[in-house]
């Protein structure tokens, strides 16, 4: 316990030192200070310190002290203090203080809420940490939750430390459950358990349940709050439930009908409002609806939403509905999924945006490049094995890059087509896979034929008219190049489509067979074909 004289000393301290001291104190120590100073000294203290400390000083004050402070501090500080309170306590305080001050507070608030919430949210990253603390103090946890809904979970988790623990947990309480679960995932263990402890029991259970699902499972992006109605009830009851539950759910245009604990179908709001009572909900429910299982892959969710234009997709666990996936979440997820596929084809892990630092960019790419470097060394070793052939016919070297580039690109093409086919669920049976491989082999051969013809003419013309080296047999070399093109293009085409299928069968993400990877493997094959053929013919 701090002696009384200490409290008096506080007022004589420099602002920075005072802030530092208060920040280092525990909650009960702050309590003892507050208890031991007079109201006027408390006011003086509150005026001096920064926002975070203002909030700490005022959280457990008696009603009269709070009202006294609110009446005497400036409006910005008033907002900071009441925004920490529950809605009930906030309204109570606003009713008790000077009405003139209340209108000034409202004015200040309105000034800051003039922009669209998304625009406010996007501005946050430009603020310095201290500024952010002051800015957040202007808004309630509900309002902050709305802003944060527009941001990436990694950004939001970074902003949490600018809030008091209680307010941070309130924000998580008010965000969409799936978004909140993502944010919690990004937090440090210590903060995570602290915030979970401070929030309501229902929310805590909800978030813990969501955290159990893997990132690529449907349930990880579902919203656990939706309107469920009993199919055996009358439409009038359904309407009542709808009105009662409306504030808690994202959308009311779809209701989910349950009969005896089992999911039954969906009821369109448009149908509900035109149906006159008496009428059982069951009779106007659409039962032919698409659903997904909690463990289904996100890719499936994206595909169903895209194909069937479903705004709210029910997520079932066994036969029970446990959540709903809304189309806007699907769109957001579709963007990241597609970007990841795209990046993987280019040999980059994860996603990149403007915030990604050079260090992270290197981290996403260097591992791939190192693996590829080793794979390429394999190509070097193979070439080196043919050093006798090369020494005898330097001209052969000239065309190696062309053959390699061509087979690499054919491989990437058939890889891309195959990965697309797998992710669109078009290659889901054995016979379809076999058919696809046969077709790709045929296509590879066909493309190889055409390319071989072109390559033959180009090589021949080049050797005869540009290089004009009498010692090389231009006809023979052109033949070797052409035949190698045919063989390596056919092989690459086949390899490009077989690899992702094999990966898929082994339950490895087929997109892991990235373009550069396939290209390098194809390089090895092509080089062996080219130089062996040369050795044979020359």
């Amino acid at each position: 316990m701090m002696p009384v004289w200490m409290n008096k000393q506080l007022l004589k301290m420099k602002k920075e030192d005072l802030d530092k001291l208060l920040s280092s104190l525990k909650a009960n120590e702050i309590q003892s200070i507050v208890k031991n100073v007079s109201l006027s000294n408390l006011l003086a203290l509150a005026r001096m310190v920064n926002v975070a400390n203002k909030i700490r000083l005022t959280q457990n004050l008696s009603e009269t002290s709070v009202l006294f402070l609110l009446n005497h501090l400036d409006r910005k500080d008033d907002l900071a203090i009441i925004n920490e309170f529950s809605e009930e306590k906030r309204n109570y305080c606003l009713n008790k203080i000077d009405p003139k001050i209340v209108s000034e507070i409202k004015e200040l608030k309105a000034k800051h809420l003039k922009m669209h919430p998304k625009d406010i949210a996007f501005k946050l990253e430009d603020l310095r940490p201290e500024e952010r603390e002051e800015f957040f103090a202007l808004f309630t946890a509900e309002e902050l939750a709305e802003f944060f809904g527009y941001l990436e979970s990694s950004e939001v988790s970074g902003y949490m430390e600018a809030l008091s623990d209680k307010k941070a947990s309130d924000v998580l309480e008010n965000m969409d459950a799936d978004d909140a679960a993502d944010v919690i995932n990004e937090l440090e263990e210590k903060d995570k358990s602290l915030y979970l402890k401070l929030m309501s029991k229902e929310r805590k259970e909800e978030l813990e349940a969501l955290a159990n699902y893997a990132e690529d499972e449907a349930a990880s992006i579902m919203d656990p709050s939706f309107i469920a109605v009993d199919g055996d009830k009358d439409v009038k009851d359904a309407m009542k439930i709808l009105v009662k539950r409306a504030p808690d759910v994202a959308s009311i245009s779809t209701l989910f009908v349950v009969v005896g604990n089992k999911f039954y179908g969906v009821l369109d709001f448009r149908k509900l409002i035109v149906t006159k009572s008496p009428c059982l909900v069951k009779t106007i429910t659409d039962v032919h609806v698409k659903t997904v299982d909690v463990h289904d892959r996100i890719e499936k969710v994206i595909e169903i939403t895209d194909d069937y234009d479903i705004y709210a997709l029910p997520v079932l666990d066994k036969e029970k509905i446990v959540g709903v996936i809304t189309i806007d979440d699907v769109l957001a997820r579709m963007n990241t999924e597609r970007e990841e596929d795209y990046n993987q084809l280019a040999g980059i892990s994860g996603t990149t945006d403007m915030q990604t630092t050079a260090k992270e960019r290197i981290k996403n790419r260097l591992p791939w490049l190192v693996i590829l470097c080793f794979l390429d060394l394999l190509v070097c070793i193979v070439i080196a094995m043919f050093d006798n052939v090369i020494e005898a016919r330097i001209a052969l070297v000239l065309f190696a890059p062309a053959i390699l580039a061509l087979s690499g690109n054919v491989g990437t093409q058939s890889l891309a087509i195959c990965i697309r086919g797998i992710s669109a669920n078009e290659l889901n049976t054995k016979s379809k896979k076999a058919k696809h491989i046969v077709k790709e082999a045929r296509n590879g051969f066909l493309i190889g034929m055409i390319m071989a013809l072109i390559a033959f003419s180009l090589t021949f013309l080049y050797l005869r008219f540009v290089l004009k080296d009498a010692s090389t047999n231009d006809f023979k070399i052109a033949f070797i190049v052409a035949f190698s093109v045919l063989a390596s293009v056919t092989c690459s085409s086949l390899f490009g489509c077989v690899t992702p299928i094999v990966f898929d069968n082994l339950h490895i993400d087929p997109a892991a067979a990235s373009g550069p990877f396939i290209t390098t493997i194809n390089d090895v094959i092509s080089i062996v074909i080219y130089f062996s053929l040369a050795m044979l013919v020359l």
Binding site: I327, M334, E339, I394, A405, L406, H436, M451, G515
Partner: protein, 455 residues
Amino acid sequence: MKASENLKLLIAKGNYAKIKDLIGKMHPYDATILLKELDAGEIPVFMQALNDDMLANIFSYLDEEEAKIFLEKANPSLIAKIIVKMEADDAADLVKKFSPEERKKIASLIDEDAKKDIKELSQYDESMTGAIMSNNFLTIGIADTVGDAMKKLVREASDREVIDTLFVVDGESRLKGTVDLKKLIIARKNENISDICDYNYVYAGDTDAISSSVNKLKEYNLLVLPILKDKVLKGIVTIDDVIDVVDRETSDDYDKLAGLAGKNDSAIKTVLKSRIPWLVILLILSFFVSSLLGAYQEIIGKVIPLVFFQSLILDMGGNSGTQSLASSVVGLAKNELDKKSNIRHHLGKEALAGLINGVILGILAFLLTFVFMWIKKDDPLHKVALISTVIAISMAFGIFCADFIGSVIPIILHKCKLDPAVASGPFITTLNDILSVVIYYSLASLILSYGGVPL
């Protein structure tokens, strides 16, 4: 029995009622899958069995070209009936696919209102937001009470696409704000719409680029975006349309990175059309690399080990170039590279990443190639060290240049109003090949002759 076989059987029997029943229970998208499996002779029966509403619904899930194929044989009055029932934006796209004479015939069978709607939408350029907007939205008056609005909602809701957001307009159809359906339901009957209206709404102009409207809808987490022309509400873009757009665009970018043009399936005709053109261009470009190599024939003949590692240098340049290309293309697609400062920032980071990757891989390449040649014991250690040095520097420099070129080219193309994704993987790779060959062999002749290796 599979649904398609069942349907074929019913068509053969001419059992219209059962066909209608079967399709009626299905989602229209599933119906399109069945429709695609039918033979030409079965399609007329299928169409006759269903009513106009069902057909219009099914056709809105097909793309215009597919829809046109199915409608080709139908008589103009049926086509007209379907078109009237379709969403105006889908109808406008479909009508564009018909020849002028057919269009005239169809137009004569459509009532004036629908014709006006379709005409209005078909005047928009394909890249404008107006071309994908729907005019099927629900408006309420700013002077109405909640009770009035509810009545209107009950009357009109069943015909409207998306009702989560209602649009509040004044007497001249100018958009004043929006009301959440949720808010309307909770509000008391005698409250004024003007009191519960959200005036802070997001909108797009009818001639705005589709990509900018798509981004708006995504960033603001909207289900529906109002489209205005001179403040007057002309239409809406819904999130399902946006998903289709995103789906198409991301697939296009993916294909371009892989060097594929246009549609993809395994049919010979499309293979020839989508894959061969790129490959021919690429092959010709590769021969530039070949002729470039021809210029260095002498040094190659004297220092054979250089050849072993040529593909290593070329490949690594190509690989890292493709990586940075992808990161620029994605950045452009996400509208993150629209400000000068952002571009400078992005290029700075890419250059730094390229430099560091280059140095690390250069060192790795030095070690690997040195050990490799040392084991092979063809050359004296002094020469091996020199060759490894050439490789290391070429690798570092090549990767740095490739990274920079890969990230700059899409941005330049974008500035020139060209599709940045055109600078596909293969294209960048070949460009980098040329650069790498020049760096590699020039450095080789410089360093090796300096190091006293006879050339």
